[in-house]
Amino acid sequence: MPGDSSVSAPAARTGNTFIDYSALRALVVEDYPGMRNALRLSLTNFGITRVQLAANAAEAIYQVKQKPYDFILCDFNLGEGRDGQQLLEELRHSHLISLETVFIMVTAESYYEKVVATAELAPDDYMIKPFSPEVLRSRLDSILLRKRAFRDVYRHFQAQELEASIAACDVLIKSQPKYLVDALRFKGELLVTLGRSEEAEALYQQVITLRAIPWARLGLARALHLQQKDEAAEKELRDVLEQAPEMVAAYDVLSDVCLAKKDALAAQEALQQGVAISARTVRRQQKLGDIAHANGDLDTARAAFSTVLEKGRHSVFVTPGDFGNLCRVQLEQGDVAAAADTLKKNKSTLQDSPEGQLVMAVAQGMLHAKSGDAKETEKALAAAAALRASGVRGDARLMLDLAGTCMASGRHDEADGIVAEVARNAHDSEALLSRAKQLYDEAGRADAGAAVLALATADVRKLNNEGVVLAQRGDFSTAVDKLLTACAEAPHNPRIMMNAVWVILKYLDKAGMDEKMLEAARQHLNEAERQAPGHARIAGLRLQLKDVESRFGIQPKNRS
């Protein structure tokens, strides 16, 4: 590359810098028609002729689903509905845009710009309104050239070849000083994803030696947290927040660190600070609601769960369970009218899916039980039972709510069955098991509860432990049998799923190709990811799966 010389003649340093704007497909997302057209005109002026317009996030998502775009220029403030950041999160989360797509956020205020720039899912760049077309052009140039330099990094990443992606980062780090910091940043995230936290720690230290940039300090804190060095992580986070108080992602990590230190109050406080800066992020509000609820701070939990539903209308991150969460808190506060109102207002949304119908039935059951209407309670429980019989399930909290109402109505067997199922699927979750125990204590059935829980968790625990031990001894065939049985008993238990995948891959490695087994590994890994998105082990297992697939010459199926 001629580009690695530190001498400056502009042509010598960047190699091929030609960008064919006429080949670019652009989407402008802006709610104000005057601005929308002005932006289109600007883009046309520098040669981008294929420009589509969208007035809001829903239109943008529709357009992106129709055909791919190379460049999205999006206003942060889109009036009613989702804002630009939420749009970006959905596009990336649903894999609607790839890493090659340039996403530039337009913000009206320099404060938002800081928040946006430091969000976990940051746009490629942001422009402060109003801006001149020349600046936009110049920024677009740099980003497109950067993406061109990162082509191999992205290609491997998108094929889930994380090792190869890291190697491509290393090439950039060595040969392209202009992209040194960008490449280090991307590599750091890959290392964290792969659970290689010690290497990540060293990498972030290397960046900090250049300059203590807030994102590098945040990365360092995350790497420390992954190694359970939570004291050091907390110190780093509190320090960096002093320097950059608008860095919302740091509050999220801080809350995880506090939870690891069993300081749930501090975890809640951290999230509340994050929410104060950026209230719209649905997942942060969900987490705040959960933690506040566990802390017994029902007012905060209620406010957070309400915000989830208000701000997250039409968001992919909102699930039927979120309606259940709000109702639960409202009922715990004794506000039956508010819970009834929540259900009434969202009736059509909930009726839309079987999961929503289950939430509706469970919440109504609780509500009627609370107001002492035995007949209506029975009706709701019957509806819930019918849905359950057809295979519909809710999140563990909701299922425990259902168990509680069943117990209060004397349906003990049904309650025990539900609790056993929850326990099997969460045999290592202290919070859920203790909530289940509490249900039995409240119903005066402490002994029965202890028996149900012990039995349910013992089976899964035993199968799991036997499987793991057998695998460690090298008897992969029997280990696979044990763990697949455990999977059948606890079909939504992420820990069991991950162990099963691990053992199957070991087995295939030794015994050779078995298409059915490989498919089982794929399915269980997908289920594990659904149950525990972002779990530290998942990326590593994906990598091993990929390895096995390519060794046997199998084209991996598209995951999404």
């Binding site: 530190s6 001498v7 400056s8 502009p10 340093r13 005057g34 601005m35 002005a38 005109l41 600007s42 009206a108 205020e109 320099s110 404060y111 710009e113 800081k114 720039a117 430091t118 402060i128 309104k129 109003p130 801006f131 001149s132 077309p133 020349e134 600046v135 052009r137 110049s138 920024r139 740099s142 000083p177 202009k178 040194l180 910091v181 960008d182 250049l210 300059r211 940039i213 807030p214 994102w215 320097q243 950059a244 108080p245």
Partner: protein
Amino acid sequence: MTFDGTDLYAALIHELKNDLGLLSLTIDGIPLQGEAAHDAPVDAARLLCQNVVDRLQQALLVYKAGSQPIHPAIDAWSPHDAVHEIRDRAAALSRGRIEIEATLAPDVPEIWFFDRDLVEMALINAIHNSLAYAQSRLRIEAGMLEGCLALTVRDDSPGYPDAILAGAAAGSTGFAKGSGLGLQFSRMIANSHDNQGRRGEVRLHNDHGAVFQLLLP
């Protein structure tokens, strides 16, 4: 300032800034006709409009900072990209009236650590100033000086008046009409950048024209 409801003023500035931005884009869309009687006033309106937009943007930032120092959002940026972006903005503002050049010294590193938006705001101030006074040429330079990245805007105007230079040397900010606010703002930005005990600076001098220099540690 001790007005009641100062947030109202911030909101007002904000709205004016956005409206003017739109106006500026509208003026940009008026095609030139090659007749001075038409083109010159359109051009003057465009420049003025852009100047007011930039000034309002600064006013908002200063207003928000209040009496506190500005918190820069430092990241790694390419001085090369920054200089070329500023050059393109200056060229667009001048529309061929003034010749714009950009040069990078060989020892300027590929990346440097600064707050890109703040630094560009400070430089665009100097550009507006130079465009108003330069006779025919304006140059944007990046070089290394005393271990700092030095970003320079140099023109062929008659130079800064003595009062401004004296004021700048004394570190005073209450000098001269018009450019006082801009300089004060640039100095705030320079000052907010620090690295290992060294703070950023703004330096002014005359050398066959006015020379504005922003030093980033």
